[in-house]
Amino acid sequence: MKKQLIAIGLCVMMTLSLAACDGSGGSSASGSGSGASGDSVTASGTAAGTSDGLGKSTEEDGVVTIGYVGSDDACYPSADSNNDFIKQAMVYDKLFEVDDTTGEYTSRILKSWDWTDDKTLVMTLKDGITFSDGHEMTMDDVLFSLKNYIDQGQATDKYQYFQNIDFNKTTVSDDGKTLTLVYKQPYGPAERTLNVAIMEKDFTEQHEASDSIWYTAPVGSGPYEITDNSEDSYVTFTRRDDYWDKDDYTYDAKQITLRFYSDETAMYMDYQSGNLDAIYGIGDTTVSQIENKGNQGTVQYVSNNDVSLLMLNEDNQYLSDPKVRQAIAEAVDMSYITDIAYGSLGKTAYSHFASTFDCYTKHDGYTYDPDDAKKILKDAGYSDGEITLTWLSPDVSPQPDVGEAIQAQLTEIGITVNVETYDLATTLGMYIDGEGDIMMMTTNGGNPTKEPYVCLSAFASRAPFTCMSIEDETYNGYLQDGMNTVDESQRWEAYEKADQWLYDNYNAIPICETLSAIAYNDRITSFDQSAVGKGCIGNLKLAKPAAYFTESGT
């Protein structure tokens, strides 16, 4: 009996010691959880930076390890539209980019570009652009890269945009320096959709898209190259000391390892224990923990350039009535939905465009007034409980929570909502087949150039997700007007009208804009804004940057 008691006592002590490990670290200081676009919140003190042989990178100047929740993808831009934006931005130079602060088009590789008429774009390449295998870039590589988006089928959204290019009339000059790109019709989003990574023609032709070399050693002209790779585990980028444009663009980190995590908990623990210098794309809970603890480095917020919308299927007999749509718009508390969906990483939206867009117009927003919503329904002749709708969403956070919240709020005005959630692939198939009455959709935040056409065309006439497509001629006319002109002022005007039309007709009800957050320790002094979106993570600044290798050996 005595031995049994001793044994049980020992077990209890071990269990208690395990429990004592939880939450004993860190202060409980009140957090400054607000997150505006581009804000960063610096907590006092230093982030955990222990070096025990695990985080060797934390010991060496210019060597950085970054955690990311996601999976590894091939670095083959025209065949994959998933998460490879990060790798693409490191390995390749892009034809066009848009300056986040000015909204102007920029190009690192072009000497000049000019519209000779509203269908012809003439571009001239800079001299001395070299790929990592030593080959010099020519306009043949550029043209090949554009065509390859068509050749790879509908793997990316570029397939759709480049249908407007007349490749039969497009030519490259004899010296390989000038590309005359001809469109079939005036195409407004041209430069913005030409933010494509330039691949080396010969190398790409030698290796199929399914070749593992696109994971291990892709050839690009960008500032970094992949030197180590364990698929779905990590990828190491090493700075090209022979980068062709290093006089204009310098990079502090000589080596960046991107570690892939399937779970944010493990990533955050590795960050806390000093195995990671930065964690990328973190959720609201982790952000709050970092800010509340006060000694875990800096949190930086950046707009995702997208808006989450409540989409109403106009094919539904009730939702085809604007009065029902208006009642729903007034019955949903957007700030509450924003809070449960994204917490500090969301802010209530007042437009169908993110506030970072050039054509952004802030509307008054729909007033949350369930009583008025109820009255609208009654006046329109609908009895309490008559309307039953189906919420259809993937079982991916935060969609099911949002569905249940909307179900509760619409019940208050007498609308019954059945919440149906499926795995992502099944749900997308059902969207395509036109199923579902109420859905949550996020406008294309994957477009770093903030092109309004890309956002609004997702629910244009004959959009792939039939349940979300809007067939109204006026609305689709505005989209066409914006697309078929290269005059920027005319384009913005058309998109503003389209936005206003959606607002007035309650087809797509804006819920919130979303933000991304990145946390980094004090070895990193700043992160480029665009890097948090879809830019180059190499654009970070280090407290102790690594010098470039020179002939003198430094």
């Binding site: 049980i8 779905d232 623990m269 198939g429 004959r462």
Partner: protein, 327 residues
């Protein structure tokens, strides 16, 4: 013995075909059109039809199944992933090593620690050590795998900083996943070893061995442990299949890109070829483990081995002996 192994290997073929048929049928019954999913955004009816033809989805389901089986048998072609557009066999081969490494190490840890503690508990029965070990064994067999994983991450990564919380790299990245994967099997092996050893230790022949002055170490390991092995092997075999089949929990928590993670991702993206290929390979390993378990029985118990080696002739002889006796 060789004949038996070959026979068992041949039986694996219909087993794997059955598994494949079930998975194939389930995949076909699940809603969602892979061709539409692969096309993603705007597409025409022609593009859709072309995609269906390219993916072989326009053929009769039975033909699709036999095409798939033919590809697997003739050149280990498990199809092309709808998601990554890469050969599934390549994707599996790049990950199977990681899962096997994880599985093999966790097996070694399970056997070494589980058997050692089980023997210790049996030899020192009703001591403090015995009570502590059996109590812990019960706790850890009841604790969910993901909870143990999270706790170990908190202790060994966050507090002590000894091991990383996730990913792959050097040996340090394997320590926590291996331990977490082995913990539940260890507790079962401990309990089974203890019970089995206690049964044997109380047998007359053990008392006889001790009376004859055989060293205690030899009594335990040579006489008692060998005779206690059969139930222990049964438990270890069953646990190994769980290790292979259930690796996706540990792989998911520790962000290990093994075959379990591949299966999870494939299910989420409705990547039929990847699902079929992964399940097929996992089933193959389960069959192999079952075979190895049966072979281990033979080596542990000569009576079982004798059934495999010339069992038929021995049976006839016994029958003949009986007939002689009757006469």
């Amino acid at each position: 013995m060789t004949k038996y192994v070959v026979k068992r290997l041949l039986i694996m073929i219909p087993t794997l075909l059955g598994v494949l048929l079930i998975i194939f049928a389930i995949n076909k019954m699940i809603p969602g059109d892979p061709a539409k999913l692969a096309l993603g955004s705007n597409f025409t009816q022609e593009a859709y039809e072309a995609k269906r033809a390219q993916m072989g989805l326009d053929k009769n389901v039975v033909i699709q199944f036999f095409d798939y089986v033919k590809g697997v048998v003739t050149h280990f072609d498990l199809g092309t992933s709808y998601d990554t557009k890469r050969p599934v066999s390549g994707m599996i081969l790049s990950r199977i090593g990681i899962t096997l490494k994880l599985g093999i190490w966790s097996c070694i840890v399970t056997i070494v620690i589980g058997v050692a503690i089980g023997i210790l508990s049996a030899v020192k029965k009703y001591s403090v050590i015995d009570y502590v070990m059996t109590t812990l064994a019960i706790i850890f067999s009841a604790a969910p795998g993901f909870w143990v994983a999270l706790m170990s991450m908190m202790v060994f990564c966050l507090k002590l900083g000894w091991f990383p919380a996730g990913g792959m790299g050097g040996w340090r990245y394997m320590v926590l996943p291996v331990l977490c994967m082995a913990l539940s099997p260890i507790s079962l092996v401990v309990r089974m070893t203890r019970t089995s050893m206690l049964d044997v230790i109380n047998q007359d022949y053990i008392r006889t061995a001790r009376a004859k002055g055989v060293a205690e170490r030899n009594v335990i390991f040579k006489h008692a442990f060998r005779n206690a092995l059969i139930p222990i092997i049964t438990v270890i075999g069953a646990q190994l299949t769980m290790v292979v089949g259930g690796s996706f929990i540990i792989e998911s928590v520790f962000s290990i890109p093994g075959i379990g993670m591949l299966l999870l991702t494939a299910i989420n993206t409705r990547d039929y070829p990847a699902i079929q290929g992964t399940v097929l390979v996992l089933s193959f390993f389960v069959c192999i483990i079952n075979l190895l378990t049966d072979i281990a029985y033979a080596y542990a118990d000569p009576r079982i081995k004798s059934q495999y080696v010339g069992g038929k002739s021995r049976g006839l002889k016994r029958k003949g002996e009986k007939q002689d006796a009757k006469a």
